[in-house]
Symmetry: C2
Subunit: 226 residues, 2 copies
DNA sequence: ACCATGCTTCGGCTGAGACCGAAGCATTCC
DNA sequence: GGAATGCTTCGGTCTCAGCCGAAGCATGGT
């Protein structure tokens, strides 16, 4: 039983606050750039670069170069699971206060994941768009011509979104639903749309609170019962 | 999403080789003294004492004073789960070589856990003893009068075991079987008995290799089909 | 009462690693 | 081509934590 060092090597990587901050930001499966992660972790760019290099060479992160950006994502779901287990342990041992009951439920229902919609509503949104044929493709979805036309008709500046460097469509594995929801520039624009139409408003923390009328309209426009 | 530091605090505790060594020794639920853990971790006693104090105040370990010894054990099963998850991650990321197939199967079948029997045979042993009414009690089992008589008749010096400070009966959650097996002084004595009767012999590492005849006798004496 | 054993605390040493500024590539934009 | 952006590498500082020896408590044995 000499597997102590094996554990220690990985745990030490998670044991630095800056790295842990970056990893918890990546926990939802998104890919972020070095700059974004540096800012979120509160360290300078060279420091973040060094941390990410370590995490990558240890196999915890996967790097992908896109233009002059470098996107990092978790190398697998098991990494997120370990992080969640650690958070659970922190809760049980009293290192962090227990979650307030109602807020937890609200988070599962609808929450903000970076800048797009997650939770049950987020998953429903992606599913609805797929069933309507507005977007297509499983892992790397693309906007269909129909989708382009319909979304533009709804007042979403799809052409404007496409000129930006950020990918238009991206999927993101939902923590609570265990299914994908829509991320990327379009995901962000749709959340903005939802907020702008007052179907929902931002609650405390990451919670997104839908109004009853908002749920109805949301389902009518994007839902399954088309 | 500022839960980075929360993760980091706990992970940093697991990230030191000496502490990780101690924790992996405690993974099977046994309670060990400071001296034992110090030696196993390869550090001096003061160093180990400091490590254990940290782990205890973080709620990962539970300390129990017994005479002038101080026994430490994991505070819960979730700690072991995190450690296992980390080991799994280390395997996938290639930090450690993949286990050799046949040896893995042998380990699941029967292995030595500290000084007692674990694996499928270990779980069967505890189950058999319970069904025969030789020991009783779920979490903190005790030897019944019947058990005392029968085991003594088998040549096991139960009275001698009871004079020692070590608890006679203790249960230990089996890693591979996910059920308890018997630990404590009696568990150790029974493994000695099994070896002495040549029902099995110690193989490489922690493997316990039963002979065909040994399995038959083992099942007859301790098994379910009484 | 005395010694032995097991553990903790204290003090000082040392090395690992986190951190940043400056400089150096690489890529893209104009 | 030149400027801007994003990232990496280098070099240096500095803090933090691990480590041990020695001394100090506490408990148990005789």
């Amino acid at each position: 039983m000499k597997d102590g060092p094996v554990i220690a090597n990985i745990a030490a990587l998670l044991g630095d606050p800056a790295r842990a901050n970056m990893l918890s930001l990546l926990m939802d499966g998104r890919a972020l750039t070095v700059s974004e992660l540096a800012e979120a972790a509160g360290v300078a760019l060279p420091t973040a670069s060094g941390h990410l290099a370590k995490l990558e060479s240890a196999g915890l992160l996967f790097a992908e170069k896109q233009g002059r950006h470098r996107y990092f994502r978790l190398s697998g779901h098991d990494v997120a699971e370990v992080l969640e287990a650690l958070m659970g342990l922190a809760q049980r041992t009293g290192a962090v206060r227990v979650r307030t009951g109602p807020r937890e439920a609200a988070l599962r229902e609808a929450r903000q994941c970076y800048d797009h919609l997650a939770g049950a509503r987020g998953v429903a949104l992606l599913h609805g768009l797929e069933c309507r044929g507005w977007i297509a493709g499983e892992a790397a979805p693309v906007l269909t011509p129909t989708g382009h036309r319909e979304l533009t008709a709804l007042g979403i500046d799809v052409d404007g979104l496409q000129t930006r460097r950020r990918p238009l469509c991206r999927v993101c594995l939902d923590w609570s639903e265990r299914r994908s929801h829509l991320a990327g520039a379009l995901g962000a624009a749709l959340l903005d749309h939802i907020i702008a139409r007052r179907w929902a408003r931002r609650g405390s923390g990451r919670v997104i609170s839908f109004t009853p009328a908002g749920i109805r309209d949301f389902s009518r426009v994007f839902g399954l019962n088309a």
